[in-house]
């Protein structure tokens, strides 16, 4: 089954399209240093939580499992290891996590463009936090467009967060991608594709009792390394920042900065 999927989805010949024979199980180390500003009431400007620095380390495995009628591919994202340290007011501590063993299903087009993240809510909330650190998903599946050496092209980086009925928000980075050519990345040569663009997030969550609005504005930039021979992601350095606002009867705002590095593990 996987072999057939492999043959069917490899249609591109551009440097960073995945060739037919290279769709495989992929394993990544992810390290994100985040700064979360104080939680501030947008009306009274009162702070209800102090600023926090956080250091998240993950090891994830991406396993292709099924092909959809529209040509998109379903892959299981499994969290194999996870650690989170936070620093508040100079005091540093480890946060207990229940992420290891959890999974989500990433549905992407063959170029990596994210269509859906099923079970993303199981990686969210207390002890999991990937609703906040959701940049993990585009970090491992950034979907650069086909762009010739030295040239640039536009393509949005998009991904949703879905939960129980009525909960959904959508992220979009209006990215301009620039092919910076081939560089040595460790033992391998990799195309370096730089991107940057404004980041927006919109989405309501409706329940019988209330409507919650999720909004964010910010900026995303980074450089994706794609193995020259296979077109597979080998590295991704990024710096994304946004101001997130969650509103129900009250609105709370938080600035969030994510500086991260993704590296493929052999």
């Amino acid at each position: 089954m996987l072999g057939l999927v492999t043959m069917l989805i490899g249609l591109g010949c551009a440097p960073h399209h995945r060739p037919a024979e290279t769709v495989e199980v992929e394993r990544f180390d992810i390290h994100i240093e985040a700064h979360f500003g104080a939680l501030v009431d947008t009306e009274s400007h009162r702070s209800v939580q102090a600023a926090t620095d956080a250091d998240l380390k993950l090891q994830v495995v991406l396993t292709p499992v099924r092909l959809f009628r529209d040509g998109s591919l379903g892959s299981i994202v499994s969290i194999e290891s996870a650690s989170l340290r936070v620093s508040e007011g100079g005091a540093e501590r480890s946060m207990p996590l229940t992420l290891v063993g959890r999974t989500a299903e990433l549905r992407t087009f063959p170029n990596g463009e994210i269509l859906d993240i099923a079970w993303g809510d199981r990686l969210a909330g207390l002890g999991r936090y990937l609703d906040v650190f959701e940049v993990v998903f585009p970090a491992i599946s950034p979907s650069p467009p086909t762009v010739e050496d030295g040239e640039e092209a536009r393509r949005r980086i998009i991904w949703p967060f879905r939960g129980a009925a009525g909960l959904r928000w959508d992220n979009a980075v209006e990215a301009i991608w620039t092919n910076q050519g081939v560089r040595k990345a460790g033992e391998e040569e990799a195309w370096q594709i730089h991107y940057e663009g404004p980041w927006t997030l919109r989405g309501p969550a409706r329940t019988n009792r209330s409507v919650t609005s999720y909004r964010a504005e910010g900026q995303g930039s980074g450089t994706v390394g794609l193995e020259r021979t296979s077109g597979l992601l080998v590295s991704h350095d990024f710096e994304w920042q946004r101001t997130a606002v969650v509103s129900r009867k009250r609105s709370l705002q938080q600035t969030q900065t994510f500086v991260g590095h993704v590296e493929r593990i052999r």
Binding site: M1, L4, V5, M7, L8, A34, F36, L39, D41, V48, Q49, T52, A54, V65, R66, L67, F68, R69, G74, I76, V86, E88, M95, T98, G101, R102, T103, E105, R107, D116, A118, W119, D121, R122, A124, G125, L126, Y129, D131, V132, F161, G163, L167, W169, L201, A205, S210, T212, Y214, A216, A244, V246, S247, R248, K249, R250, S251, L252, Q254, Q256
Partner: protein
Amino acid sequence: MIWALLISAVPVDPIGDPLERYLEIEDVSVALEGLAPKLKACAVGEDVTVSLTMTLSGDGSVGLSEWEPEAYSSVPCWNGVLSTHRFPSHDDTPERVRLSLYVRGGALVLSPVPELEPRPVGPLLLFVGGTEDERSRIEQYIEGTGKEEQ
């Protein structure tokens, strides 16, 4: 031609429902239908309503079961049934399920609607690195129901 044959051979998913990686209440209800005959095979005594809280581990086994009243005569037999029964496996931490067992006139009936204890996740999108109580405080602040609002 070869491509057409290959494409026709691949079992595509036309609907795209998420893979069953986690338990939902419907899964628990279906699994309980399989459990009911085994529980009914245990002899029952006087009429009683027994509440059962159990944790379902990722491998489908029952990790912990609590009965109320614990001293009811059928509980040891029911515990034996639970120790060998397998619920659907899942990728989450152990899930807590609550249901009632009704013994009436020598027959056993399970509550038709079990409860799958939800995991509190809010507030989403904002980093709140404290305990569940701290997260609850922030959630209530947004909701306008916290102490600070009164």
